[in-house]
Symmetry: C2
Subunit: 334 residues, 2 copies
DNA sequence: TGTGATGTAGAAAAGCTTTTCGGAAAAACG
DNA sequence: CGTTTTTCCGAAAAGCTTTTCTACATCACA
C-alpha cells in the first residue's frame, strides 16, 4: 500500500540504511546516490512513518494541550496561538478539554503518555501534586500556562494576576469609586487577582466589605447571577470588577435588565481582553493578557525541555489595563 | 525507563506473547496466569505503547480535525463536540487550523498521514478535488462537515443551507420587509444560503437588488464594513441577513454607531446561533445549526469508516430559525 | 495404558525506521 | 604499483507490540 523505506531502497538499488541517511542528512553519501534516492522518493511519493521513527527513540513531534474548555474564547485563542507556534517548530498539538476535572485530567495525561507525545502544556488548573511530581521525576516535559505551583519546580508562564487585580482596583478608586465589588472564579489565578484587589482597597484606606466579593463559575450565567445578588445589597456597588470577560458580560446583561446604564450607573471591568470586550455594548474595559506572547513562550519552554534543556524557568508577563467605554467616575450619589 | 512488555513478561515469568494476549483479551489464557500478569502490570504501572501497537497494523486512535480557525466560536464549539464524541469512542483529536488556506490544508493532510492518524475530519473549506480523490482512492478515512462536494462520493454532514437562507428571508418578508440585504462570506455554504435568499425573494415577487448582496470575510470587521456600505445606499435596507453571527455583530456595531436602533430601524438576523447571539444587545435572531448533532454524526461516520465500513453517506440536518429580539416589522417608512 | 481432543504457552516473524560498525571501493601518496 | 587513508555503503540489531503456528501438558475416554 503506502511505500516504505524498503520500496525506496529496492527501487533505487541501495540499502535502507542509505535511504535513511539521505532522509536525515546523516552519514556520508555521495551526491550521485543522494540524488538517485531523492528522485525515487519523490517518484513514489514516499513519506517516512513518524511512528516507526519515534519507536527508535526519536520524537513524535506531537504535544498535548490541556485546557478547561475550548468554547471559552480565552482558551480558544490560546489554543490557536499554541498551535501556530507549535506548527512553526514542527509540532502538532492534540487538544484535550478537561473541564477542570482532575480525574479527566489524569486520564488525559496517561493517555497522552501512552501515545508518546513529546510533552504536555497544562492550561487547565490542576492541583494534583502527586501526579505532577511524578512527571517531573521521570523528566517528562511539561509546562504550565496561566498558573504556577509555588511548591513545585515546574516551568510556567503566567501573567502577574496580583498586579492585574491591583491595577484595576486602583484605577476604579482613582475614578472615585468607593463601592467596588469583585466577582471571581474559584481558581488560583483569580484568587491572586482578588488579593490584588484587597491590597489596593487597603492601600486606599477604603472599607473592605466581604459581601462585595463573590465567587462563581467562569460563565455568563455566573456573572449574571452574582451581579443580581450585588444589586440587591442595601448598598449596591458602583463598580464591579469581573475576573474574566464572560463574567463581565453576565454582569452587563444583569445591569441592562435592571435599566442600570453602563457606565453611568455602574462601571464594569473585565479580565482577559478577549475579542468579546470590543464586541459588547458598551465596549468593555478589560485587562489584557498577552495571550500571543504567553503561548509562544510556553511552547518555546516546552520544546526546549523536549530537546533536553535541563534548567527550569518561571516566566511572568505583565498585564495591561485597556480602558474602553464601560468605566467612568461614579455619578453624584443621591 | 518506562516498562515494556518485556519487563512485565520477565517479572511475571511468562513470555511476551502471553502478556500481549492478556492485554488484548485474545487467545486462551488460564485464569491463574492472567491474574499474575495483571498484577505485575499494575505493579509496574505498565502502559502499552500505542506507537508500537499501531506499527503492527492496529490503529493510532487519533484523528485529525481541520478547521478554518478555532478562534471563531462556531468552530470552537464544533471542535469541542468532536473532541467529546471522539473521546467517548476512544479517539484523540489533533487540531489543525487552516485559515482556509489550501496549501496549509494540503500540508496538514500529508503531515497527519505521516503521523498515521486513523482519519481526518474536514471542516474547513477545501476545493482541491485532486487531493480528495487521492484520499478516497487509497481508502483513507475522511469525512466532511459543513460542506459537501457534489462531484465526489465522500461522507459528509451538513445543514441544509439553502433552506436556512430561505427560511430567514421568508421570515423577514412575512414581517413586512421588502428591502432585505444579505452579507455572506465567500464559501460554498454561504453561497447556498444566498441561493435560498434569492429564491425566497423571487417567490415573493419582490424586487431583487444586486447591491443588497455583499461578500466579505467571516469577521466582525467584515460585517461592520459591509453594513456601512449598505447604509450609504440611496435606499438602505430595513433588514440585513448576516450569514454568520460574527458578521451580524459587525452589522450591529455599525448600526449602533449611526444611531440606528435595532430592531426598530433595522432588523438583523445571524446564522450559527453561537453563544454570542444571546450575549449581544439586543439578543440576536439567528439560525441554529445543530452543532452537537452534526459533530456527533461526523465522528460516528468517520469512526465507522475507520472500522472498515465501506458504504458512503451524506447526512443533511435541518436548520431552525431562533427568533430573539433583533427583528420586528419595519417601522412606517417616511 | 494409549489415543485423541483440548487447553495453554512460547518462539519467531512482521511492522518501519534508525544507528552502529565493519568492509569494500576509491583516492591519495610514496 | 603497493600501501595507507578516505569515502561510501550495507548487514544487522534495536525499538515495542501483535499474531501465527507449533509444542507441550492435561484431560477424557475407550
Amino acid at each position: 500500500m503506502k511505500p516504505t523505506i524498503y520500496d525506496v531502497a529496492r527501487e533505487a538499488g541501495v540499502s535502507i540504511a542509505t535511504v535513511s541517511k539521505v532522509i536525515n542528512n546523516t552519514g556520508r553519501i555521495s551526491e550521485k546516490t543522494r540524488q538517485k534516492v531523492l528522485k525515487v522518493m519523490k517518484q513514489l511519493d514516499y513519506q517516512p512513518s513518524i511512528l516507526a521513527s519515534a519507536l527508535t527513540g526519536k520524537h513524535t513531534y506531537t504535544i498535548g494541550l490541556l485546557i478547561p474548555d475550548i468554547a471559552n474564547p480565552f482558551f480558544a485563542e490560546l489554543s490557536r496561538r499554541v498551535e501556530d507556534r507549535g506548527q512553526e517548530l514542527g509540532f502538532s498539538v492534540v487538544m484535550c478539554s478537561t473541564d477542570n476535572d482532575p480525574d479527566k485530567t489524569v486520564r488525559y495525561i496517561t493517555l497522552l503518555k501512552q501515545k508518546s507525545v513529546d510533552g504536555i502544556i497544562l492550561a487547565s488548573s490542576f492541583e494534583n501534586h502527586q501526579v505532577l511530581k511524578g512527571l517531573l521525576e521521570e523528566n517528562f516535559p511539561i509546562a504550565l500556562i496561566s498558573q504556577e505551583i509555588p511548591s513545585l519546580a515546574i516551568d510556567s508562564v503566567t501573567v502577574d494576576d496580583f498586579l492585574g487585580g491591583y491595577q484595576v482596583t486602583e484605577y476604579l478608586l482613582q475614578l472615585g469609586h468607593q463601592k467596588i465589588a469583585i466577582v471571581a472564579e474559584k481558581a488560583p489565578s483569580n484568587q491572586k487577582r482578588m488579593d490584588g484587589y484587597r491590597k489596593a482597597i487597603a492601600d486606599a484606606n477604603v472599607e473592605m466589605k466581604e459581601n462585595y466579593m463573590a465567587i462563581t463559575q467562569a460563565t455568563v450565567e455566573g456573572g449574571y447571577h452574582c451581579a443580581n445578588q450585588l444589586f440587591d445589597l442595601p448598598e449596591p456597588p458602583t463598580a464591579i470588577f469581573a475576573c474574566n470577560d464572560l463574567i463581565a458580560i453576565g454582569v452587563i446583561k444583569a445591569a441592562r435588565e435592571r435599566n442600570l446604564k453602563i457606565p453611568n450607573d455602574l462601571s464594569v471591568v473585565g479580565f482577559d481582553n478577549t475579542f468579546m470586550a470590543e464586541m459588547v455594548d458598551p465596549p468593555l474595559s478589560s485587562v489584557q493578557q498577552p495571550i500571543c506572547e504567553m503561548s509562544r513562550q510556553v511552547v518555546d519552554l516546552l520544546v526546549k525541555k523536549i530537546q533536553g534543556e535541563k534548567s527550569r524557568k518561571r516566566v511572568v508577563l505583565l498585564p495591561e489595563l485597556v480602558v474602553r467605554k464601560s468605566t467612568m467616575p461614579p455619578e453624584e450619589q443621591q
